[in-house]
């Protein structure tokens, strides 16, 4: 049991963060906070990837004399791309929220739904 915890604790941290992020995305009414939740959710996936790439006793994957064990560079590359994708999504999401606020005068999901129901 003990070895299970020491072996896997790093993954569990990211799972926990993932659950927090996903909960905020689904449950929150505020369109801003949904985006923040989405960010947390995505960051947790990044941490999961990066913790896969870690090698015991390894160093950062930059070749230098005197070092032989390196962490795996491939997850780092993938996550660099994924971070960029996530910030791009956030920017587009924020632009949407800002324009929603302009045309609805609110960024609360329930209020917007109420407005739409009134219209219909």
């Amino acid at each position: 049991m003990m070895s299970l915890i020491t072996d896997l604790y790093a993954y569990w941290i990211s799972v926990l963060l993932m659950m927090v992020g996903l909960y905020i995305v689904i449950d929150h009414n505020n369109l801003f906070k949904k985006l923040i939740g989405l960010n947390i959710f995505q960051t947790s996936v990044f941490i999961l990837f990066i913790s896969m790439g870690k090698v015991d006793q390894g160093t950062a994957p930059i070749l230098k004399e005197g070092f032989e064990t390196f962490s795996n560079p491939l997850p780092h590359v993938l996550i660099l791309t994924a971070i960029v994708v996530s910030i791009a999504t956030t920017a587009v999401g924020l632009a949407l929220v800002v324009s929603i606020n302009k045309y609805y005068k609110t960024i609360n999901e329930s209020e917007i739904q109420a407005i739409e129901r009134e219209e219909a």
Partner: protein, 489 residues
């Protein structure tokens, strides 16, 4: 030289064209440029189909790095089939849509709008051409981000909410797919699809691979808008600008379905997906519920765009129903339906674009008697509606025919479901036709703007294509058969 590089050019041409397009000063020029680019991608996809027929599969190593090290493009009968579909739809849509785009989109935004359209096309083509799991994610995001912006360009403010909802759902879906990729990568160390497949026998028993399978399933179902993860789709199709609705309805869920074939047949393999993990048992009930429920909801819609969106959800159900049968014939039926439905739905949304151009709305009540002033558009809708129901001699009949045949191999009661739900389609199509032909026209119709010739010609091109593939169905049947034989050995 072009023949050697066709797989790369297929994606690179629209990719390079996009930044060029955003620098163009005039709206007309941007349209002309975008249309030319999409026709050249169509030409390349024709070349690809021809090459696939001649030599089988084409591999292309980006940067000349061999597969697991670098990223490989892999064109086989399945991807060539979808590539030609996407580029053909994009070309016809763009050719006809200039007038409706000019009417619906603010003039100063045209260059940006066409740029986003090109980026969306790049993303969709990239997803289909690549053989690298992570590359799929990157191109998925290119197409999704541009789609969110395109949808938000709708005239109603509800378009913004629709785009936001799609952004949240789409990003959750893409992140789920990313988690799936990560879990598979963790147990194999590779991202290439074939390399992953080769390692499946070793890693098939791992919990993490099973969980990865589950994450892929949910992520793809979200992008595919399969019941019960479909909530984003009706609003997105309804409030998007007309031209965007045409393109999205005809391509975006089709690419998600392609991804489903790729992930579950090429990466996980038929045996693993359906025998070890029983994907069919999940897909079958969801498909049936999607077909029945969406067809019923479609009947009660007061906006024709939304009606067609729900009918799309039902059609997606038919396509996944074919997959869930776990037979070659089921898969063939699914692919043929994918191909035919893209043209039928594209054509019907084109009709709505014409109507929206003329009377500025697609609401049911406002189009009473429109056949009097717009006979060609109304006639096109009737033919498209017949194809949607699945009557001969249209492509829709071929789809239904193959589905019923495939279904009969397993159970007769499923065939009854398929036939009965087609009757529901008769009801909602008839409602619209009745409104168009048998009602007295209102004022708004008499004073409607005349629809430009080009838009009508392109609408009829799609309509005629969906009739043509009902009479001469050799191309889709042959491609689908080749693809199915490859995926289910």
């Amino acid at each position: 030289m072009i023949l050697m590089h066709t797989p790369a050019l297929q994606v690179i041409i629209p990719l390079i064209a996009a930044p060029l397009c955003c620098l163009l000063p005039k709206s007309r020029l941007a349209w002309l440029f975008t249309t030319l680019v999409s026709f050249s991608t169509f030409a390349i996809s024709v070349l690809l189909v021809w090459q696939v027929h001649a030599v089988g599969v084409i591999d292309y190593e980006m940067g000349n790095w061999p597969a697991p090290l670098g990223i490989k493009y892999h064109i086989d009968s399945l991807s060539a089939f979808i590539l030609i579909l996407i580029s053909a739809i994009a070309s016809i849509t763009l050719l006809g849509a200039r007038s409706i785009i000019e009417q619906e989109i603010l003039h100063s935004k045209h260059a940006l709008f066409y740029t986003a359209f090109l980026l969306c096309l790049t993303g969709l083509l990239g997803i289909v051409a690549t053989n690298d799991a992570f590359n799929v994610f990157v191109f998925l995001e290119i197409s999704s981000l541009s789609t969110y912006a395109l949808i938000a360009m709708g005239r109603n403010r509800k378009a913004l909410m629709a785009a936001y909802e799609y952004l949240i759902m789409g990003t959750i879906g893409a992140t789920f797919i990313l988690i799936g990729i990560g879990l598979l990568y963790m147990q194999t160390g590779t991202l290439n699809m074939f390399d992953l497949h080769d390692r499946m026998p070793i890693i098939g028993g791992f919990n993490s691979v099973h969980a990865g399978f589950a994450f892929f399933t949910v992520g793809i179902f979200l992008k595919l808008a399969l019941f019960p993860l479909h909530q984003w789709l009706p609003n997105a199709y309804t409030f998007a600008p007309s031209a965007v609705s045409v393109f999205l309805a005809a391509t975006s869920t089709k690419v998600a379905l392609y991804l489903l074939y790729r992930v579950f047949y090429t990466i996980f393999g038929f045996e693993f997906s359906f025998s070890t993990l029983h994907l069919g048992a999940v897909l079958l009930p969801l498909s049936i519920v999607a077909i029945i429920l969406s067809s019923l909801i479609a009947i009660f819609q007061s906006d024709i765009k939304r009606l067609l969106a729900y009918s799309s959800l039902a059609q997606i159900g038919y396509m996944t129903l074919g997959v869930s049968l776990q037979t070659q014939s089921g898969l063939i039926a699914s692919m043929i339906n994918l191909f035919n439905h893209a043209f039928i739905k594209g054509a019907l949304f084109m009709c709505l674009a014409c109507i929206a151009y003329s009377i500025k709305t697609t609401r049911f009540n406002h189009m009473a008697g429109i056949a009097k002033t717009q006979p060609w558009v109304a006639a096109a809708f009737v033919v498209g509606g017949i194809a949607l129901i699945g009557l001969p001699p249209t492509a829709g009949f071929i789809s239904k025919w193959y589905i019923v045949l495939a279904v009969l191999e397993t159970s007769w009661w499923l065939a009854i479901v398929v036939v009965l739900t087609s009757l529901l389609a008769v009801i909602y199509v008839w409602r619209v036709v009745e409104q168009m032909y048998l009602r007295e026209p209102l004022d708004n119709i008499q004073y409607g703007t005349p629809v430009p010739m080009m838009l009508i010609i392109c609408t009829w091109t799609m309509i005629l294509l969906s009739v043509y593939f009902g009479i001469d169905n050799r191309f889709p049947v042959r491609m689908a058969t080749m693809a199915a034989e490859m995926l289910i050995p």
